[in-house]
């Protein structure tokens, strides 16, 4: 046993040393084992052997093991330079030390890089953080046709009396032209200083059984009162907002520790007078958002300011509004805009929303059945502004042959996020999929794109999407301030960041206008090589 261990230890020595002395060394240990019995002596023997490695190794490496011969006498003719090998030295201790340290460092660094999950942050956003307001401004700048909801919101902001009384808007962009009607407000629109902050209202409190996104069901919003003209904030008002924000964080944020730290940070900033310069509501909300995100690193924490008075209770869907939604969906074929079979039997589906499955399930299954024999599928989400996670899961189900979890930052995994694959008689599970994206692809459509991209199930062609994940639940603070707080931890299986504020990057970057043509070419090439 002892000998075996020492034989292993002896491998540390240079090979020529081992060759010359291994037998002798083992003999020496055998002798000592024989002569030194008893616990104390054995322990001392092992201590000696351990120390010996430190003392003997360097010396063993310093020896040359050359045939012991004098350096040859120098046949040195005057003035003629010559090279002579004076000594055949083994590797120096220092060289071995440096070499092994460098190797270890390289291996460690490589391992560290491998274990890091790669966050999904495009280089373009310098620090990965865009405040909600900035992203809203960006969205507004991109979509400025007067007909769009955003455009109307801008106009509304310009004439406050009109904008304030009718407070509907945005996700109406998700709806078809004919239904893009004021009654189809799906979130509270908050025009302020020409900015529009989109705050999804969770109706969770009203009816706990309802899923979060049913806030997208058209709601009858109570008429909002006209806003007071002034937006100037004094210290007391700021303190009230900060205190309330701290309470809300502690009460609702899913991680108590982070909530406490974030609340403390808000308080510290307030005490330090960091907030004193923010006299304007929008600026103050932006500042608080930044402070919360700096501390918590959670992009879904947001403070919003509304120039209009926020309604006390989130509006509930009424039977009338549901009926209207149903009718609109029927008129619009549930937003399944186009179903075509292109050359090489490539299937093409243009889908402009992910409508409620309780209304549109049959339309969706019929559409997917029509594409069942396609050799490849192109799903066009360039005009899709999201919708219901149930529909995202339903359509994705056709693309897999096993139940697949469709990650969404909105909350913990529930059954709703698992596909019901395999679907009987479906042949699309192994067909190539291409998804067309644009700068207005949003929310649920981004979830669909993000998940299929991360699962390597689809190739995304087009532009980086708009970047709206809406994982937070809206909490009213007072008439003008409200905040979005994630209440459930959603573990992203693909990395740290989702698409909030940054969008989903396509695999193939082309302008939205060229996306279809590009995808068709890619699909044809793929189908032909099969």
């Amino acid at each position: 046993m002892s000998e075996k261990i020492y034989t292993r230890l002896f491998r540390l020595y240079p090979s020529r040393f081992r060759k010359a002395y291994e037998d002798e060394a083992l003999q020496l240990i055998r002798d000592r084992l024989r002569d030194e019995a008893g616990f104390f002596k054995r322990a001392r023997l092992w201590w000696d052997l351990a120390m010996d490695v430190f003392a003997g190794l360097p010396q063993a490496y310093r020896n040359s093991y050359a045939v012991t011969a004098e350096a040859p006498a120098a046949p040195n003719a005057e003035g003629i330079p010559s090279f002579r090998m004076l000594d055949n030295e083994p590797l120096k201790r220092g060289s071995i030390l440096i070499g092994s340290t460098l190797s270890l460092a390289t291996i460690a660094a490589f391992g560290f890089l491998l274990s890091r999950s790669i966050g999904y942050v495009p280089l373009s956003s310098s620090n990965g953080r865009i405040s909600a307001i900035e992203s809203v401004v960006e969205r507004l700048n991109r979509a400025t046709t007067p007909d769009t909801a955003a455009g109307r919101a801008e106009e509304a902001a310009k004439s406050p009396s009109a904008g304030a009384s009718e407070s509907q808007s945005w996700p109406a962009a998700a709806l078809p032209e004919s239904t893009k009607h004021q009654d189809f407000a799906t979130s509270v629109n908050v025009p302020a200083n020409g900015l529009t902050a989109n705050i999804p209202i969770a109706s969770r409190d009203a009816n706990p059984n309802m899923n979060r996104d049913q806030s997208l069901i058209p709601l009858e919003l109570p008429r909002l009162q006209n806003a007071s003209g002034s937006t100037s904030l004094d210290a007391a008002a700021r303190q009230r907002v900060v205190t309330s924000a701290m309470q809300n964080l502690r009460q609702h944020y899913f991680d108590r520790e982070v909530a406490q730290e974030t609340a403390d940070a808000l308080l510290a900033h307030e005490k330090n007078g960091d907030d004193d310069a923010a006299k304007d509501g929008v600026v103050f909300a932006e500042l608080l958002t930044r402070q919360m995100r700096d501390k918590s690193h959670d992009m879904h924490l947001v403070m919003e300011y509304s120039r209009d008075i926020l309604p006390e209770h989130p509006p509930e869907p009424t039977p009338e509004s549901l009926a209207r939604y149903r009718m609109a969906m029927e008129q619009q074929n549930c937003m399944f805009r186009k179903i075509e079979i292109l050359s090489h039997d490539i299937g093409y589906l243009k889908l402009d929303s992910f409508p409620d499955t309780s209304v549109c399930r049959s339309t969706a299954t019929a559409a997917m059945a029509a594409l069942n024999h396609a050799t490849a599928i192109i799903i066009d989400l360039r005009d899709n502004a999201g919708g219901f996670p149930g529909m995202v899961t339903l359509i994705a189900g056709y693309l897999f042959d096993h139940p697949q979890y469709m990650y969404s930052p909105k909350g913990a995994p529930t059954e709703e996020f698992w596909t019901h694959s395999p679907i009987p008689e479906n042949t699309l599970a192994d067909k190539p999929v291409y998804i067309l994206t644009s700068a207005s692809t949003w929310s649920g459509a981004e979830q669909f794109s993000y998940d299929l991209k991360m699962l390597k199930r689809a190739t995304l062609v087009g532009e980086t999407t708009r970047g709206g994940a809406h994982a937070g639940v809206f909490h009213r603070i007072d008439d003008h301030f409200g905040m979005g707080i994630p209440e459930q931890k959603a573990i992203n299986p693909f990395g740290k960041t989702d698409w909030e504020g940054v969008g989903v990057e396509p695999d193939v970057k082309v302008s939205a206008a060229e996306a279809l043509e590009t995808a068709v070419k890619l699909a044809e090439a793929r189908v032909r090589t099969k």
Partner: protein, 116 residues
Amino acid sequence: MPKRKLDPLPAAAFQIMLALSAGELHGYAIMREVEEQTGGRLRLGPGTLYASIQALLEGKLIEEVDRPADTEERQERRRYYRLTIAGRKLARSEAERMADLLRVARARKILRGDYV
């Protein structure tokens, strides 16, 4: 160069040379002899022992000898070493160097008494 490894002479090498000054010994016997002459303070492990022996061989301060015919351990493969003339010279000069050091130490009252 071998000289460099043995200049200054390491304690282990000097002890080995001192052990061999009494006669031809094999590795284990050297180790025991060193242990004895240092009062048990220095027990050479196999690595230190044979690395020092190799260095001394390379410096031609000791040499390997044929196994003495009269040993009982004839059947065991042991190598015996003895001091060369150069080795004896070096050991002496090293001892003198140490004696010089001792004189100085005594003159400076670091050492008391009159041993050595």
